[in-house]
Amino acid sequence: MYRGDITELVTPNIEELRDKIKNFFPTVEYVGCKVISPELSLKVMFNVTNNSDGDFKFTSMNFSVYCSQHGGVLLGYGYGTGLPLTISGQSSRILSLHVIFTTEGRIHIGTEHRGDRDFHAILKDMVVVAQGVEVELGDEIDVGPIEIPP
């Protein structure tokens, strides 16, 4: 018998492993976003906290942006700026995403949302490459409220 349980001899401590693995993945918190004029693009910021002891590296990030109110309307495409971004262990950094609106997106915002103070956008089809691993997120991320200039 090994420490009173023979199975412990051939299996790793799953509970301990699970807790440690959980800390490996950073926590992401939405900070805010703003419209950048005059060419009408959008900057979205997230605060990313690395809870592990080692570095965590984001290499690339791409996604599509849709209007939250008019679900089917594609507004533009976005990408991570300042990448690759390395976040040291037990620290936080701001991850910025840049959205470039398509002509149709610009027209839609200009006609439907000009002067909106509570505009929301949906980030979809997000593909993130971090630590050499490519993750296609199935979830949609709602960002807002965004103040659209009149």
């Binding site: 001899l9 051939v10 790793p12 401590n13 492993l17 693995i21 592990s52 590296k57 691993v133 979830d139």
Partner: protein, 182 residues
């Protein structure tokens, strides 16, 4: 002892076996390496050493520690006994020494190869994840709505090839034994 009475492949085998043990003790030198993503996980494995971590967490399996100790003792005994045999080939007990020593590197190498093949087949059969013995593959996971592509690369290290050479030298020592006894 005459020059032609020395079993040279046996002597070389004992030196390479001792080198493998020293590399293991001093540098924890692995025979096979697997890397997941860019620092997401890695494992460095040999019959004499084991080190694995996933997402920064060390994966420890107690029985492997005991197996590693057993393998270190096996390889050390091979190095010592093969050396003694190689320089005392004409003694009455030399055949027993050779019989004891020459199978050890073959046994360790064989068990290691079988373990690797069985492990990769097990992972492929039960988890649907193809891990090559040598090379790179991309493992695809789906969880909820997310899809994850994880690059996995594996390689044999030069220490593995040294172990292969040691096993070949052990067979060579057995064959050469007929010559030194003529």
């Amino acid at each position: 002892m005459e020059f032609r009475e020395v079993n040279w492949p046996g002597l070389a085998c004992s030196i390479s076996a001792a080198t493998i043990v020293l590399l293991s003790v001093l540098y924890e030198a692995p025979w096979w390496r697997v890397a997941i993503g860019d620092g997401v996980g890695e494992a460095e494995i040999s019959p004499l050493n084991y080190k694995a971590n996933l997402a920064g967490a060390s994966i420890e399996v107690p029985i492997i520690w005991f197996l590693n100790i057993g393998s270190k003792l096996t390889m050390t005994s091979c190095a010592v006994v093969m050396f003694l045999y190689s320089v005392t080939t004409q003694k009455s007990f030399s055949r027993q020494l050779l019989g004891f020593a020459y199978k050890k590197p073959l046994l360790l190498l064989g068990l290691f190869a079988v373990m690797l093949v069985v492990s990769t087949m097990y992972v492929e059969t039960f988890f649907g994840v193809y891990v090559p013995l040598m090379g790179t593959s991309t493992v695809l996971f789906s969880d909820g709505g997310a899809t994850v592509n994880v690059p996995v690369s594996t390689s044999f290290t030069w220490v593995f090839w040294l172990a292969v050479v040691t096993a070949v030298l052990a067979i060579g020592a057995k064959i050469y034994d007929w010559k030194v006894r003529e």
